[in-house]
């Protein structure tokens, strides 16, 4: 039965996928995508249908498992934050080459303005790179509808489909009207055509020709897409192209405009005929898109053109950062709303590690060693709550680049001659992308000290399961670590002397050591206690 629900964008995607007959979601937690998988994990429908929803070790294993489910004939969803696309780029791009059997939809949640990320990359480039269709919803209702259309399109074209959202879509709620009927899951139906799936050059060349030959059809589908809508008032000579969520910011302001000619783009590759037609009747086109100037650049090229194209590159909109109703309003040529200036009394309230968090004791110990013993020590950080160790009062980190880079960068710096190098990495990040780097370091017995700060969970995204729980010593020893240089400590202020001593000794050792400070995340612990008390 059709019903109305107040849904987060992420939840609308999850529910849409379930209603499209999803058989498995594969994902690694990452803001702002995490809630898609969490919704499916808690869904009674998913439980009833035995939909796979356990967290994966990283985005690459997720993408590959989804491709396997598709090979077997069923529908799979892959979810990640934008930088996760880099991790799964190999299977993602090559899934365009193999194509799919059961439908595959990949959700990339971008984070313009970097609310909780290290860069502002725009996943639409990945869709173009892999030469597959990309959808970009403007509303939560779109998100719910589009994921279902995306599965249909995926199976009809035999290609994966990318669904790109931004933070403001993923983490914004609105009322969604759901379908009156729910599609059944696909039956097991493994692909029998090995030539589709074995990307030996002899097959891959054929697949590449097929994918390339399909491109004009994809443009045509975008031109006909019900998601690429036109909206006109008066005899507008001012064309506006608005992509995904940016359409909302345009529509928020159009009541104050005399005339306009808007094309909303929510399906890519570009609807070329629609754009050409707009160009023939307008004097200028303003491109409003959240993220990087993906559409604007494609319209511009490098040679002169007959009409003016404005957007992030021309300076009509800010070159970086997320769009909002205010900067779009100014770009539309309207006067900014009257408003008060910010108060000078207000100060910043930066995020900080929780009181009682084990990472705090780890940083205190590291700083003791640096202060009292080896001031030349450099600490290479990683992605997680403990990245906050870069800020006061700890100010302990020298680097933080991507998942797993702490270990490999520490090794590279040691290779270059840095005497005292520490890598600090969380438990979940270690299994995501740290294990392979540790093997490199072990194989050369690199003189670095790796600290796996284990809080038994993926804390920063809200406490999801950590793939290597209870296996960290076994993993390190299995990779070949010398047992004498593996230590487990409990990061509590009362153990400060011991932890400081262990770090000092291992920094002095001219080989590889791993120290595992282990104590449960204070957030997951207090949630557990609350649950217990409620019983």
């Amino acid at each position: 039965m059709s019903e109305k629900q107040l849904l987060l964008g992420d939840h609308a995607i999850a529910l849409g996928a379930l209603h499209a007959g999803l058989s498995g979601v594969y994902a690694y937690p990452g803001t702002p995508s995490t809630e898609i998988t969490e919704y499916i994990q808690l869904s009674p429908l998913a439980r009833e249908r035995k939909v796979h929803s356990r967290w994966c070790t990283n985005e690459k294993t997720a993408m590959e498992a989804a491709l396997g489910m598709s090979f077997a004939g069923k529908r799979a969803l892959v979810c990640m934050k934008h930088v996760g696309m880099n991790v799964c780029a190999d299977p993602f791009v090559n899934s365009g080459m193999t194509g799919v059997n059961g439908g595959v939809v990949v959700v990339a949640a971008d984070d313009p303005s970097m609310h909780s990320s290290q860069d502002e990359q725009d996943s639409r480039f990945y869709g173009k790179f892999a030469m597959i269709p990309t959808f970009e919803p403007s509303t939560q209702q779109d998100a719910y509808n589009m994921v279902q259309s995306a599965f249909e399109l995926s199976e009809s074209l035999k290609l994966p489909v990318l669904l790109r959202v931004v933070t403001r879509m993923a983490h914004s709620r609105a009322v969604v009207t759901t379908n009156s009927s729910i599609r059944d899951c696909n039956k097991l139906n493994p692909s029998e055509n090995w030539r589709d799936w074995v990307l030996l050059p002899v097959n891959a060349r054929k697949k590449n020709d097929m994918l390339t030959a399909l491109q004009p059809k994809l443009h045509e589908l975008s031109d006909k897409s019900e998601f690429n809508i036109q909206n006109k008032k008066g005899n507008g000579k001012k064309g506006i192209i608005a992509c995904g969520i940016a359409y909302n910011y345009v529509m928020e302001n159009v009541a104050d405009m005399q005339e306009y000619d808007i094309l909303r783009i929510s399906q890519y590759p570009l609807p070329t005929e629609k754009i050409r037609s707009m160009a023939s009747r307008c004097d200028s086109i303003l491109v409003v898109e959240d993220g990087q100037p993906f559409v604007e650049e494609q319209l511009l090229g490098v040679l002169p053109h007959s009409i003016e194209i404005k957007g992030r590159l021309s300076g009509a909109l800010p070159r970086t950062g997320e769009l909002n109703p205010d900067n779009v309003r100014v770009a539309l040529g309207l006067k900014a709303h009257e408003h008060a200036e910010p108060s000078e009394t207000v100060v910043a309230r930066p995020p900080a590690l929780c009181q009682g968090c084990g990472h705090r004791s780890v940083y205190d110990a590291i700083n003791n060693v640096i202060r009292n013993k080896y001031p030349d020590t450099k600490v290479f950080g990683d992605i997680g709550c403990y990245t906050l160790g870069a800020l006061p009062p700890f100010s302990a980190l020298s680097s933080c680049v991507d998942m797993g880079a702490s270990i490999t960068m520490a090794k590279g710096a040691a290779d270059a001659g840095l005497e005292h190098a520490i890598a600090i990495i969380g438990d979940s990040t270690f299994t995501h992308s740290g294990m392979t780097g540790l093997l490199d370091a072990i194989n050369e017995n690199a003189a670095i000290t790796v600290i796996i700060s284990d809080n038994l969970t993926t804390a920063m995204t809200g406490g999801q399961d950590s793939a290597g729980l209870n296996k960290y010593e076994a993993i390190c020893l299995g990779l070949g670590l010398d047992r004498n240089h593996l230590h487990v400590v409990e990061p509590l202020p009362k153990n400060m002397d011991e932890i400081t001593r262990v770090i000092t000794e291992e920094l002095e050792y001219r080989g590889l050591s791993v120290i595992i400070p282990r104590r449960e995340c204070i957030q997951t612990l207090s949630r557990k206690m609350k649950k217990q008390n409620a019983k």
């Binding site: 609310h115 403001r168 709620r173 910011y249 008060a340 009394t345 207000v346 100060v347 920063m460």
Partner: protein, 189 residues
Amino acid sequence: MKRDIILSGVGGQGILSIATIIGDAAMNKGMFIKQAEVHGMSQRGGDVHSHLRISDEQIASDLIGIGCADLIISMEPMEALRYKPSLKKGGWIVTSKTPFVNIPNYPDVEKIYEELRKIGNVILVDAEEIAKANQMSRSVNMILLGAAADALGLDVKTLSESVARIFGAKGKEIVEMNVRALQLGAEQK
């Protein structure tokens, strides 16, 4: 009716519960809703805010434009003042009086009150005191919501029905306590 509301506070203070109740109440009145939240790293003791828009008519943007908010509801006085540029002329601020001091350079709170009062339509609620006096320390946010009911254009009865729906699974006692918190808040003017 249309209300553009900024909800603000510090991570963990319960602004999302306020948003959930208002959202449910608005949905039951058949209104349109958009609510943009902040999740992730920004929650770790940092400032958090949410844009909540309810209207009888379709809403386009998930974000509220600068100078366009009808109302700021804040769990913390400095966090209320942070969004001063968002407030439209003649808009309302309903904020808890109690500062949440987790930074070394927290400003003089009297100065914050003074600036807030200068803005005009401000209700400073001693929500934590009221909660303490009534043994409902976990309902500070509902006291605040009660105090904002008038400015929201939603009556306490409507909000209470939403509290019953949202907190229903937590038991009758929790519902009753939060409904009482709404009423206590509504008496603060």
